[in-house]
Structure formats: C-alpha cells, structure tokens
Amino acid sequence: MSGFDKVVSSYEEAMAGLTDNMTIVAGGFGLCGIPEGCISQIKAMGAKGLTIVSNNCGIDGFGLGILLEDRQIKKMVASYVGENALFEQQLLSGELEVELTPQGTLAEKMRAGGAGIPAFYTATGYGTPVGEGKESRSFNGRDYILEESIVGDFAIVKGWKADRFGNVVYRNTAQNFNPIAATAGKITVVEVEEIVEPGEIEPAHIQTPGIYVDRLIKGTFEKRIEQRTVRAS
C-alpha cells in the first residue's frame, strides 16, 4: 500500500485494529449488498461488545446474523430486525440491546455523520415512541425532532467495482446504504468484486470517491437471496 493505493491483500489486514466495544457501520439492505468477507473476518477475530449500525441484522447463519452466534453484538441500531430467531432470543433474554431507528433517519444519520453534521431535524418519528425524550422544535408550523448523526470506528462496505485508489461503483440495488456507510467510518473498509486500475472508471460515474476509503479488498460473494420471487417466462 503506497500513495493512494488502498488495496490490501487479506481480510486480516482489512479489519486490523478492530477491538472489543467498537461501533461498526455496515452497508447492505437485507442480504443485498452486504460486506460478506468483512463480517466473516469480524466473526473470526471474535471481537465482543460491538455496536452494529445497519438497516438489518442478517438472518440465522448468514450476514450479520453470524455475529450473534458467539454473542459479539451488544447493541444493534437498525430499522427492521425480524428475520432471525437468534436475534429474537438474545433480545428477549436481555443480552442484546436494540435501538429501532426509522430507515430514512438511519440513512441520514450516516450521511450527516460522514458530512460532519452532528445532528439534524426531521419530522419522521415526531409524536411516536421514536421521538420520546428527544429535543423537538417547530419550523413553519410543523414539528421536528433532533436526531444525532453516527460515525463508526469502522465502516464496512460492499461495492461492485473499484479502482486501486478506492473509487467505488455499486451495482443495482446493492447500492442501498453502502455509499453513505462508506462516508461514516473512522476506518472505511470496502470489499468489491473487481479491482481495476485508476482511470478505468469514468470519473463522473464514481459513486464513492476514494477519499472516504481506507482499505480496499477484492472478495468473493455468495449473494444469498432472501425472497426469491419470479414470474413465469
């Protein structure tokens, strides 16, 4: 690794520095566009007491769900978590804390965190349990609550293609939370399907500029499908 070259050759190197009780911001929506290799590495490293910020928590045996197996997650910040039995079990036993956050607010918390904005007002959640205990304010006759942004110790991101400088493009709806998660890590790790040379991606097509990316690794992905729905051909 030298100059702007962000490429690392192993997941050990990609996740080096991860310790207990850290906060990790993760891209992905359901099982779509999740950083599979980083998640496996976190499991292998065995770090405990983690706070994970991600729209969902995977399923039993796949995605972020595997971090529940050895009780590595202390707190989950997510908008929807209903897909795994182990999650439910640990939540009910009190081993796992969950902070349910509206999906758009979660996205904006990452975006704002990455953009140096400590908090923002949103109408989402005003008058609901989400707004309880939060500062509120009226603008032009409408009520808003103050939501604080999020920056993780690590951000783990799944891209499609990147150049060695960490300029990333995403594929289809595997984009989801990934580009905003990429901005919201003190150390941002991006795993992609293909690494190309600088200049090979049209500069205007780059979705995550390399400035946000600290470590880049080429991975292999299972890409499991959660709800396979087809029509007759």
């Binding site: 929506f29 008058g127 989400v130």
Partner: protein
Amino acid sequence: MALTREQMAQRVACELKDGYYVNLGIGIPTLVANYIPDGMSIMFQSENGLLGMGQFPTEDEVDADMINAGKQTVTAIPGASIFSSAESFGMIRGGHVDLTVLGAFEIDVSGNIASWMIPGKLIKGMGGAMDLVAGADNIIVVMTHASKHGESKLLTECTLPLTGAGCIKKVLTDLAYLEIKDQKFWLKERAPGVSVEEIAEKTAGALVIPDHVPEMKFSV
C-alpha cells in the same frame, strides 16, 4: 359485501394519475400495481433505492443485486434510476413522491396512524414507514374497517404506539372510502352492498354521514 383485497387495490388505483411517482407498502398496497388504468404511465418507488420498479423477474432474469424494499427479487423498467438509501429517503422526506399507499393497524380522527408495534408482541421495527408517513402529503391508508372480532380500527384516538402523528387524510377500508378532517371521519363512498348503518356501527371515531353516500366504483 365487504371488498376483497383485489377490489381494494382496484379502488386505490382509481387515485393514480398519469406521470405519478408512487410508493406502495407491503400487502394489499402492492396489489395496486396490477390495476394501473390503461394508457397511464406510473413509476413505482421502492425505498431501498429504486425508482421505476418493474415486475418480478423470470427465472433467467433473477439478480441478487436487484431487490425491492420487501427484499423480493424485482426488475427495473426502462427509464428507472437507482440510488442510495439517503437519496431515496431524501425524495420521500422532501415530499417528491406523489402518492404513498400503506397499511395500518389503527387510525384516528386526528389523522394519527399506528402500524408498526403491538406491545407484548415481538417488535420487528418500523422500516421506512415512519419516514413515508412523515414525508408524503398524499397518503392513502388501506386496511380492514374492523378486526376479526368486530372491533373498529377507525378510532377517536389510536391505542397503539404511533407511526406518525396527524399525517393521514384518506382511508380506504373493505367497507368504505373516508377522508379525515376537523377531528372527524367523513364518509365519501361505501362498498357495493354495504349499508351506511354497518359502516357507522363499525366506526368508533366521530363520523360525518352525508345525505347521499354513493356506492364505490372501480374504474375512472
């Protein structure tokens, strides 16, 4: 007769206008896509970051990187665009989506909606529902008028934790189409064969009944 799920979707589809960007929730709202009036162009927004959602893929077209907000595999229509979750909720919160259709457990005369949490039952989360109801101006709630035990879901005040406060103005149930204004439900249409008396009996919140309540039509 109470409306079927398909009839409810058909009635909601009458509210579509050519060139509308529409977000459909999970369940009956999803069926609205099957009843787009002939000659009308509609783009469906899926809040995971897709504007211009198409039909389900054929077996050959299945792509793990192309899903909707229900995590189902989908396709994109020509002219679709794909973007981040922040952008997606920017367009929702910013009021750029023309029509949002979603389900609910309860609504009340103040336009409050409860749709995500039943205390004592496992809470899975609100997903994007709170952002959708807070951001959209034109929302249609689609729900059954009463529970299986006959208890009204159109209340003076919601009993369940809210998804949004004061944001609902239109409701389609299996019995009627109603609007919410001035702390009252206003009965606008009744399902074919359903009496005004039955609707009144199953509406717990204040209800305004005009002299003539037309029967619902399913095409424009």
